[in-house]
């Protein structure tokens, strides 16, 4: 399944995507800066609020900033790779999906390699910047183990967000506004999940935990910072099974889509 041809395909596609991006380099710079500005802008609200109120339960400005930053990095990574899934509805309705499916290569891989939103590097930049800023106040020591834990954290979040992208794509198969549902989960809700979940009422907490959104960044970040119990280590590996599960559902829905016809 993963043979030389596939690897060469990935490399060539990637080179092509870079080429395309270079054709519109000035546009890229502008959008990159706009992305940085926009997300730093969102951060200012958090900053002002935390500066005024000092703590949300037992989290301070730096805790909240850290969770926000981790989310930015993960989101940036996921969007870099899986951006085309945001437009899955177009693929379905324009018939491009058919063409991709009668090729001897994984549909999933083909869709990924069709586009790469390099401007998401802006998100990663913002996230990294903020992590650096809170390192001292949070007394994070970047030892080898810590770095490994951090990588795990990021990978976990990215997989979770990737899974949400796939949920949006799967819904697109059945005409529902997959895009907007995904936006809801990714943009709106995550903004509130940078605070401890106890900040909200019981029933909201239940929703957040059961929908697994809590485990995207919030809980795993707590584990990293050591502000939660030690048995939370398992929360950082939930990302992979979640992603694989959604991937399976996406595949299954595609099969039934082709089986039933359009």
């Amino acid at each position: 399944m993963v043979d030389v041809g596939t690897v060469r395909f990935i490399c060539k596609s990637f080179r092509m995507l870079l080429k395309i991006q270079f054709i519109q380099l000035s546009n890229f710079y502008f959008v990159f800066l706009a992305v940085c500005f926009t997300y730093l802008g969102s951060y200012t609200f958090i900053y002002f609020l935390m500066k005024k109120f000092n703590t949300v339960l037992d989290w301070n400005l730096y805790h909240v900033t850290f969770v926000f930053a981790v989310y930015q990095i993960s989101f940036g990574i996921t969007n870099l790779i899986m951006s085309q899934f945001k437009y899955f509805s177009d693929y379905v309705h324009r018939g491009t999906l058919d063409i991709l499916m009668i090729r001897p290569m994984s549909l999933f891989l083909q869709i990924i390699m069709r586009g790469c939103e390099f401007v998401s590097l802006g998100n990663i930049a913002v996230g990294v910047f903020l992590v650096v800023m809170v390192t001292k106040p949070l007394e994070i020591e970047w030892s080898a183990i810590q770095i490994f834990k951090f990588m795990l954290l990021i990978v976990n979040s990215s997989l979770f967000i990737g899974g949400i992208y796939l949920i949006g794509a799967t819904m697109s198969i059945y005409i529902i506004n997959g895009k907007e549902v995904r936006d809801l989960l990714v943009q709106t809700l995550q903004n509130y999940l940078i605070y401890p979940k106890e900040a909200y009422e019981r029933w909201i907490q239940a929703v957040l935990v059961f929908s697994l959104l809590y485990f995207v960044t919030n809980k795993p970040a707590q584990w990293f910072l050591g502000i939660a119990d030690s048995w939370n280590a398992w929360s950082v590996i939930l990302g992979l099974p979640f992603f694989l599960g959604i991937y399976g559902i996406w595949n299954f829905c595609l099969k039934s889509y082709t089986g039933a016809g359009n």
């Binding site: 959008v31 609020l49 005024k52 949300v56 339960l57 509130y192």
Partner: protein, 256 residues
């Protein structure tokens, strides 16, 4: 083909409900967050919890971002069709204004009112401080609309020189939201920054009208504030005229 248009119909409907749901969720979570924030702090703040909650809810009336007419203007600039609109500039302004006003009223009716009514059932927040304050609030809101319209207008006209629409719009919208107090009340901003912002037109778009609603401003001061709003409208309108004239020259020189 038919299937696609049927789908888009359904999509619009569900889009609306989804949007409504999203707004409710946003409100719900914000209010709960603020409750937690307030309960945790010992310091005295410049506004009470209920005032803050009221602010968040009422600010939904003052959502002047993502104006659809701006998008249309910009695409006409990019395609060059704007040249025909230059023939009647003042009427064009007015035409766009009326359209955008209609869109705003529609937004209020279809989204803001349902949400506010829903909030009445579940959340405790203040009605207007008094009838007269309420009326002044409405007046102020109308002036705010004009301010933000011309501000957005100036930005969209910048498309003549900055064809990077997404970047332009994203940055300006973010800036406007931060400077106007549309997300969180300006009283949470550091004092120094707030003082500066009170000199800019944007705080007059959201922060000021809601302060009127809450009765945090003395009646006597209101006329001056209205005047300030009017002055800003004038200034922004003049700026937009200025940009238009520059743009016209550019088009004539370049041939469209």
């Amino acid at each position: 083909m038919i299937r696609i248009s049927l789908l888009s119909h359904l999509a619009l409907r569900s889009s609306y409900y989804l949007g409504l749901f999203r707004e409710c969720l946003f409100l719900l979570l914000s209010i709960q967050l603020f409750r937690t924030l307030y309960s945790g702090t010992g310091t005295v703040l410049s506004a009470t919890l209920t005032e803050t909650v009221t602010y968040i809810i009422i600010s939904k009336f003052a959502q002047f971002f993502n104006m659809s007419t701006m998008g249309r203007i910009q695409s006409r600039i990019i395609s060059g069709e704007i040249a025909t609109d230059l023939l009647r500039p003042v009427e064009y302004d007015f035409f766009m204004l009326v359209q955008e006003f209609g869109a705003w009223i529609q937004r209020i009716l279809s989204i803001t009112f349902p949400i506010v009514l829903l909030s009445l059932l579940f959340v405790r927040f203040y009605p207007p401080s008094s009838i007269s304050y309420g009326l002044c609030f409405v007046l102020s809101l109308l002036l705010s609309f004009l301010i933000m319209f011309f501000a957005n207008y100036c930005v969209s006209l910048a498309a003549f020189w900055i064809p990077y629409l997404w970047s332009l719009n994203s940055v300006s919208t973010t800036l406007f939201i931060i400077l106007s107090g549309a997300m969180i009340p300006l009283w949470f901003y550091p004092d120094g920054i707030r003082n500066v912002l009170e000199w800019l037109p944007f705080s007059f778009a959201v922060y000021m009208p809601i302060n009127i609603y809450l009765g945090r401003i003395a009646m006597a001061e209101l006329p001056i504030l209205f005047l300030k709003q009017a002055v800003w409208i004038l200034i922004l309108w003049l700026i937009s005229r200025f940009i238009w004239s520059k743009a016209t020259k550019k088009i004539i020189v370049n041939g469209g």
